[in-house]
Symmetry: C2
Subunit: 201 residues, 2 copies
């Protein structure tokens, strides 16, 4: 192109297209769309990004998303079953499992899965915090709901070997979930079936 | 869903999904993706939206995008042919025509097209500014490159009737561009042919 767009447009387009799910063309269209509309919407977005950065953190107990440094809405809910912990890789996996409406226990978000190839071991994940919760007592079962792929399997095996000696039942989602995929893409029914058919690990 | 995400996440997701091209599901995935990554990227986005709002404006002459209140990069380019003005609806149409590399004149961005049904007449568009530029003299031809749809046709006819008595040649893009569509989606070759085959209006 022989003419250049103002640098702020180029910068915002580049930042947006660095996100998975937004290509360069959509990024530019989004910026032009915003500029056509009311400036107030751009300010709202600016403020919303600011809020996200300033006000959203991780639950000190389970690692799920929360406001500030408070317990998250699951950990703060006294109506949940406190003897079961479902271990997931990422916050969106919590949302996926909640959507089944078949689970009423607590969660633990690891922040990823083990991947020896990439140098990601238990120390890089929130495993220590999980062990701490179990040592505090009162946990009867840990459901390992890592993704049904290689990294998830490695993580599940490690958790089984580590947790079983602590006297806690360790189960895993049934392989009703399609192998090789991402948990967050599974439909409610598949995830619900997998919760129902979980097997001892 | 029985649990709620922190309000800042809900707010940003809602704002993002109000944009054309981003659905609710992609919006939430984008926010979670950002929270997984470095906080610096969120700050960069926040700053980029701020810059867009503070530093991007409209060229006082042609209405294209520009930094601050300066002339845009086209109007400021002394190497462009100053006797021809190409009239378009939106800034992205300028980018589409530039991509043909067959046009070296100036532009005028109307900010939309006439639509009597929606109460959008010449007063709602930058028509007055266009007439002002022609009254200043030195313009031999105005190429009307409004979209090849009903609103674009109405606008083109209005411009012909208004500009022809001022002694300026008024042409329009050849209907090589597919009717009923949006100019910005046309490929380079179609747009290039349409420029070549423009006809007197």
């Amino acid at each position: 192109m022989s003419i250049s767009l103002p640098r702020p447009i180029q910068r915002l387009s580049a930042l947006l297209s660095s996100l998975q799910g937004i290509g360069p063309r959509l990024a530019q269209r989004l910026v032009l769309q915003l500029l056509r509309g009311e400036r107030r919407r751009i300010r709202d977005l600016e403020e919303a990004f600011h809020e996200i950065r300033e006000q959203v953190g991780w639950c000190p107990r389970c690692g799920f998303l929360t406001e500030g440094e408070n317990l998250c809405s699951v950990c703060a809910d006294t109506g949940r079953e406190p003897t079961v912990i479902c271990v997931v890789e990422e916050p969106q996996d919590v949302l996926a499992i909640e959507s089944t409406e078949q689970y009423r226990g607590l969660y633990h978000v690891l922040g990823g899965a083990m991947s020896p190839m990439d140098g990601i071991g238990p120390e890089e994940l929130r495993v220590k915090e999980l062990l701490g919760r179990i040592r505090e007592g009162g946990i009867a079962e840990v459901i390992v709901a890592t993704n049904p792929n290689q990294e998830g399997d490695v993580t599940a095996l490690y958790l089984k070997e580590t947790l079983a000696p602590m006297g806690v039942r360790v189960t895993r989602l049934a392989r009703g979930v399609p192998s090789g995929g991402d948990l967050e893409y599974s439909d409610r029914s598949t995830l619900g079936n997998a919760l129902e058919g979980r097997t001892d690990l």
